[in-house]
């Protein structure tokens, strides 16, 4: 036993300093795809390979002129990188902190003038996907402030797997490991929805879990937060809606925060949970900072790839 203690002490602290310092992610990690909207010439190859329909385009004949509307939906994206393989205007970045308070703010849309040969040019208008610092209406803001004052200092989470592949659960487990150590924020996972302030829900919500999810939501006392986790939780992901699944979590219960990813790594999860609690700004010294790229060999113990 003394040997165990001695060796444990020797290991020291392995906990990441995130979010006080930016997330350390490997240079090779595949996160958010970035599209060079201004110089994008043809959306069709990327649309053709995208397995979840995260990249879509719609052509309109006009008048006045033929246009194409192209959309990138991070809520559907599984970060597979197939689009970047076929389209030089798309680049995969390691950026993983993508949680947002609304489904719409995960979508980025651009409208182009359509050429006769099917390519497009001249960006007509673009709506950048809002970041986590998005504007919300005054009523929403007030309500949110109230919820945060009640729940912001300490939060009890009930995790509900409503149909996931267990990938999201593996990463959520990671939050409890000493590397992410969720308890340092006063957050912990509880065994019953009756003890919970937040439901962390993974999807796609299967028809067979629909009733159980609704009952779990009903059993959670007000005020409560719901966070949809992963591409499947945000949008139905790779399975979408079929005879066996209802798709996104918000098709079944109201959702406060969406965390994209397939699966979102523990940094992304932590970012989303803190966003829902309204504690992100208090902890991030510089929320607009680019994610720090970890060194290659000597990466820190906490580095999520």
């Amino acid at each position: 036993m003394f040997e165990t203690l001695r060796q444990s002490l020797k290991v020291g602290v392995v906990t990441t300093s995130y979010p006080d310092t930016p997330a350390e992610v490997s240079r090779r990690a595949r996160g958010k795809p970035e599209i060079d909207w201004a110089n994008w010439k043809d959306a069709r190859p990327a649309v053709a390979v995208c397995p979840t329909g995260a990249i879509e385009c719609r052509d309109e004949a006009g008048p006045p002129a033929a246009t194409r509307t192209a959309t990138l939906d991070l809520g559907k994206c599984i970060f597979c990188g197939l689009c970047a393989d076929v389209d030089p205007a798309i680049r995969m970045t390691p950026q993983c902190e993508l949680a947002a308070r609304s489904r719409e703010s995960l979508c980025h849309t651009a409208r182009y003038q359509l050429n006769e040969n099917g390519t497009h040019q001249h960006l007509l208008e673009a709506s950048p996907a809002a970041t986590s610092a998005e504007a919300i209406t005054a009523v929403g803001q007030e309500l949110q402030a109230r919820i945060q004052s009640v729940l912001g200092r300490s939060l009890h989470i009930r995790e509900v797997d409503a149909g996931s592949c267990n990938g999201c659960e593996v990463e959520i487990h990671g939050l409890n490991s000493p590397v992410y150590d969720l308890e340092r924020f006063g957050i912990h996972f509880v065994a019953s929805p009756r003890h919970a302030d937040m439901l962390l829900v993974t999807g796609p919500v299967t028809r067979n879990m629909e009733l159980a999810l609704k009952k779990t939501y009903a059993a959670t006392p007000d005020p409560r937060l719901v966070v949809a986790v992963g591409a499947c939780g945000c949008s139905g992901g790779i399975f979408g809606v079929n005879y066996a699944t209802c798709g996104a979590v918000d098709a079944v219960i109201p959702v406060d925060v969406y965390i994209p990813g397939c699966p979102p790594n523990p940094h992304a999860l932590l970012h989303g949970i803190l966003l829902a609690m309204g504690r992100l700004n208090r902890y991030s010294s510089d929320p607009t900072a680019e994610p720090k790229i970890a060194g290659s060999v000597s990466s820190q113990p906490g580095s999520a790839a």
Binding site: E3, T4, V11, V14, S26, R28, A29, R30, C50, P51, T52, I78, F79, C80, G81, L82, D85, M92, E159, D161, A162, G163, S164, C165, N166, G167, E169, V170, E171, I172, H173, G174, N176, S177, P178, V179, A191, P204, T206, R207, N208, M209, E210, L211, A212, T216, I238, F239, N242, Y243, A244, C262, P263, N265, S296, V297, S299, P301, A304, A305
Partner: protein
């Protein structure tokens, strides 16, 4: 009429056979022929229906582990009922329930015929649960939403005091329609869906699917891709086994190992990400090869980081085995006897912990495992201790395997163009995932599209093992029994 000389068609793992060459018996004869093969020592890998005309053919894929060969046979299409195989061979029990649910073929004499995962409104159609009557007997119902961060399922215990007399498990909550989505495939989303059949088993399921596609195309992936798949498969095993060792330690409140393994699991996941950019290996394996290469500089990095992670694991696991308090909690708890294990067809570490030498990498080597094998890790006692011990041995052997193979890559391309799947062809691929045998079977139609695609996750074989382990055990030992099997719900529910 039965042809007396009719025999099962033999094929090797990761190969295909023309559907017309799969021998067909009348239904009752087919069940008898299958029983004969099982009596000769075969194991049931797959048993499923293929709709044909107005009826359904039953198909059996058997494994002769000692002969390193698979065998396949089928029945003529029929409707109605057939004599149940389960009566003489319990390993067929769940397969027959599934066929009954999917195709309406009734196994006459099946002792416990009820739905597997079908919906009834917005919950699974569970049917009646087995009940033990008596004044002292009480029933405990758990789930589908469990207390931990875990997938949903329903457990029904019949207890006398603390002692579990019987446990029945009802799953189906995670049913996402995976097999149904494959009809007339492969589709654009197919490969990504195969990576999420069981998200913690991405590499094994993706490799099985890619191998089936390659067998249907009459080819195999370039050697270098086979090498990288084997490496990714062992990294997946290391990450999950380490996570399970940590969880087992956590369940008996042995925190040093629990904490250390929680961190080291992340380190192993990061090694997979070093190869392909995703901690679970998503996007790595594709039909025809791999999408990412592992050039020497990165391989050297991988070896370096692997060395540290393995040393950390070794130490964390040694704390655990050195503690008498841990051993006392694991020994003689949740026992499955070897005869039971063989009878119900256990696979993977759960089977090896009952002393059965059963490992696809060794018994049915395909891909890189034809050239490089790791010794099979077995332990005889069948209890929680044995299941933990086998994992711990496999961590050592996977580590050793990786250290050897990482410095011995095959040269050449990572990916080759794949010909379209051959029409009316039947292909089988087995891969030893970290939970055990992952089995994918595909049958193509005249146009080379999937007419039927069957996936059998190891959990499909093993859940019944957990219920047997619980018999006579205190209900408070359920968590460590459950964790020692560490089975997939979504891989079962599909």
């Amino acid at each position: 009429m039965m042809n007396p000389s009719l025999e099962f068609a033999l094929l090797a793992n990761a190969t295909s056979i023309l559907w017309a060459d799969v021998p067909a018996w009348p239904a009752a004869e087919f069940v008898r022929a299958t029983a004969t093969e099982l009596n000769r020592g075969a194991r049931l890998c797959a048993w499923f229906g293929v709709p044909e005309g107005s009826g359904t053919c039953l198909v059996a894929v058997l494994a002769f582990d000692a002969d390193n060969t698979l065998a396949v046979g089928r029945s003529a299409p029929f409707t109605g009922s057939y004599p149940s195989l389960t009566v003489t061979h319990p390993q067929a029990h769940l397969f027959e329930r599934e066929v009954w649910e999917q195709h309406g073929l009734t196994p006459e004499g099946h002792p416990w015929l009820k739905p597997v995962r079908r919906s009834n409104g917005n919950a699974p159609a569970n049917g009646e649960f087995f009940r033990v009557e008596g004044g002292e007997v009480h029933e405990v119902a758990v789930g589908p939403v469990h207390a931990g961060i875990i997938e949903p399922g329903h457990f029904r215990f019949q207890c006398a005091g603390e002692e579990v007399l019987h446990l029945e498990i009802a799953l189906g909550y995670q049913h996402r329609g995976v097999e149904e989505a494959l009809t007339s495939g492969p589709h654009r989303a197919t490969m990504s869906q195969m990576e999420t059949v069981a998200g913690d088993t991405t590499i094994a399921h993706a490799t099985a699917h890619a191998t089936v596609m390659e067998a249907l195309a009459g080819t195999e992936a370039p050697l270098r891709a086979q090498w990288l798949r084997a490496i990714a498969l062992e990294l997946e095993r290391l990450a999950n086994h380490t996570g399970d060792m940590g969880a087992l330690a956590g369940d008996v409140a042995f925190l040093p190992t629990s904490s250390a393994c929680g961190k080291i699991r992340g380190d192993f996941l990061n090694l997979t990400a070093l190869i392909c950019g995703n901690r679970f290996g998503r996007g790595l394996v594709r039909p025809g090869g791999c999408r990412h290469d592992l050039e020497p500089a990165r391989a050297a990095q991988l070896i370096e980081r692997l060395k540290t992670a393995l040393a950390d694991t070794e130490q964390a696991v040694a704390w655990f085995w050195d503690a008498a308090s841990v051993r006392a909690r694991f020994e003689n708890v949740g026992i499955v006897f070897p005869a039971q294990a063989a009878e119900i067809g256990l696979v993977g570490p759960a089977a090896r912990a009952c002393g059965l030498v059963r490992d696809v990498r060794y018994d049915h080597p395909a891909g890189w495992h034809r050239f490089a094998q790791a010794p099979v890790a077995v332990w005889p006692s069948g209890d929680v201790f044995a299941r933990a011990r086998v994992r711990s041995l496999e961590i050592q052997r996977s580590g050793e395997y990786l250290r050897e193979q990482l410095v011995a890559p095959a040269d050449g391309d990572m990916r080759s163009e794949l010909a379209p799947p051959a029409p009316e062809t039947f292909a089988v691929a087995l891969v030893e995932g970290w939970r055990g045998e992952v089995c994918h079977v595909a049958l193509t139609d005249a146009a080379g599209r999937f007419r039927r695609y069957k996936i059998i996750d190891p959990s499909f074989h093993n859940w019944i093992g957990m219920t047997l382990a619980l018999r006579g055990t205190a209900i408070s030992d359920f968590p460590i029994c459950n964790k020692s099997f560490s089975l997939s719900y979504c891989g079962f529910d599909l």
